[in-house]
């Protein structure tokens, strides 16, 4: 393992993480809900209860780059997959987060914060799967 010191950005990572934690705190203390993006999205699409407040959270998330753009240039956004990879990845993320009842935000941030065993296991599983997939794609298939 070699650490890529050139691209390692500890302070923005910690500060951005703190903002994510602040947002999750505001949502649970204000609205009584977990800020899990896949769950909110699924619930808004399927018409669950409390749809209005959930949709407003997602609207805020969607508008974030527009607010950012008023004050600064948007950060780099670089994709490394072709369209087939994007389609496959999107399908897996869509179906997997619904069966697994959460993603990086719901399980990884909120679930671990409230010491949920389910979220801890889910996070370990999707992290391990992510590490393994990148290893296979980059180092075994040489993609």
């Amino acid at each position: 393992m070699t650490i890529d010191w050139l691209n390692f950005t500890p302070w923005p990572a910690l500060a951005g993480g703190a903002l994510i934690g602040l947002a999750a705190s505001l949502f649970v203390l204000g609205n009584g809900r977990i800020a899990g993006i896949s769950g909110l999205l699924g619930s808004v699409l399927e018409g669950g209860e409390g749809r209005g407040e959930k949709a407003l959270f997602l609207l805020g998330l969607l508008l974030a780059p527009l607010l950012w753009g008023l004050f600064a240039a948007l950060p780099t956004i670089e994709f490394q997959s072709d369209w087939l990879g994007l389609v496959l990845a999107g399908l897996l993320v869509g179906i997997g987060t619904r069966y697994g009842a959460g993603c990086t935000s719901g399980h990884g941030v909120c679930g671990i914060s409230r010491l949920s065993p389910r979220s801890l296991v889910a996070t370990l599983v999707f992290m391990a799967a992510g590490f393994a997939t990148v290893y296979i794609v980059r180092h075994l298939l040489g993609g």
């Binding site: 204000g30 993320v93 869509g94 914060s113």
Partner: protein
């Protein structure tokens, strides 16, 4: 007030993702590439988020309503079942292919890249597929 807090929470969440660099799929993939030039940033994003959210989320567990009067709705399921493991496995594979998870996908949806539109349409199709399979199971 609850509408405002929901909207602000989403907005702050999105700004946090952009600031953290997590809206950049290449950076996420660099975190997942342990055998390559490893960028540990994402671990600090999670650490920062958990450090801030742990107190409030654990306080929320002791309450039945939110500070703005909404019912406190925290997950109650405890069992580690096949759905949780299998679903998380599929999600992790998809995450490893493109470096995009649902939060960042929404946070960059309106930035005008065709790739995120393709990813989002596939993600919504995947969620629709889940719903179709679930309603068949319920019959």
């Amino acid at each position: 007030m609850r509408r405002l807090s929901a909207f602000l929470a989403g907005l702050i969440f999105g700004i946090g993702l952009l600031l953290a660099g997590m809206a950049n799929p290449a950076k996420v993939l660099a975190f997942l590439d342990l055998a390559g030039a490893w960028d540990p940033s994402l671990a600090l994003v999670m650490a920062g988020a958990i450090a801030v959210a742990a107190g409030p989320l654990n306080w929320a567990r002791t309450r039945t309503t939110s500070l703005l009067g909404a019912p406190m709705q925290l997950p109650v399921k405890r069992e580690l079942d096949r759905r949780l493991i299998g679903g998380s496995l599929l999600f992790g594979i998809g995450w490893g292919i493109a470096g995009i998870c649902p939060g960042p996908a929404l946070a960059i949806l309106l930035t005008g890249h065709w790739q995120i539109i393709v990813f989002m349409l596939a993600l919504l199709t995947g969620m629709g597929l889940f719903r179709a399979l679930e309603s068949r199971r319920a019959l």
